[in-house]
């Protein structure tokens, strides 16, 4: 890949990918490592990157796989994350977010990914299904279950 292409990709998608990783992992230290890893992979990629829309999907798929690989390889982090949930999940810098953020961290990784991709990035269920290698219907069901869980916890907390 050419240096110029690499820089364009980073300026277009760096922030998006950083936040996607933060949503999946919930920890900024790990987020830094994974984002670097992702861009090393992109830089080493021999082929030219795909065009705009396809590129976004390509990047998000690489990023999610890098997150899953990270936890698969480093049991130490995975154990720490399970054992010390409170310390692991760092709240976002947005002062209004912690309330919903804490509840989001209780969801499964795949549910968080789906909510991020659908509600924040605006991908359709079909596109998400392609990225996550699931069926469109399963993505829809998971999104529904995630929102239902959030609704139930928030209602419980309010009452």
């Amino acid at each position: 890949m050419h240096e110029h292409e690499f820089k364009v990709i980073y300026h277009e998608s760096g922030r998006n990918l950083y936040n996607f990783i933060l949503w999946i992992t919930g920890n900024r230290g790990v987020c830094d490592d994974i984002l670097q890893e992702v861009f090393i992979k992109i830089w080493r990629c021999e082929a030219s990157p795909p065009d705009t829309d396809e590129r976004r999907r390509w990047l998000l798929t690489i990023t999610r796989n890098a997150c899953l690989d990270f936890f698969r390889k480093s049991n130490r982090f995975a154990r720490f994350r399970t054992k010390y949930k409170e310390e692991w999940y760092e709240p976002p810098t947005d002062p209004d977010a912690p309330f919903i953020w804490n509840e989001l961290q209780q969801l499964a990784e795949v549910e968080r990914s789906i909510l991020f991709l659908h509600l924040k990035i605006g991908h359709s269920y079909k596109e998400i299904a392609d990225m996550l290698e699931l069926t469109e219907n399963l993505v829809r069901v998971k999104a529904f279950r995630a929102l239902k869980k959030l609704k139930e916890t928030l209602v419980k907390k309010e009452s």
Partner: protein
Amino acid sequence: MSYTATQHPTEEALCACALHECDEELLKHIEQCAACSEYVEEIRTISHDIASIEDEPVPERLNASIMAITRAKEKSRVVTILQTWYKNPFLIGILTIAVILLLYALVMMIP
């Protein structure tokens, strides 16, 4: 499917409706049913809260270290060429021809 005051849509259908996947029939029922309308509103509020979580900027030091990836790769390309030149058949060919020509020149120079 027709909905009545006692026959409500499934939660999944209501959730889909809150996320803009709604048909006429369902929309009509939601307008008339307080319970379903409240459900849809709650899901919409949650989705809105999620969507409005502000994206964080990439830390400056991380920006710098990612930009340094390209420089590191350039350096490592040079190092790799220097370390593995003898494995390159093209270079070996050129060197062999150069040695042959040199030897030929030396032989020709001997009186």
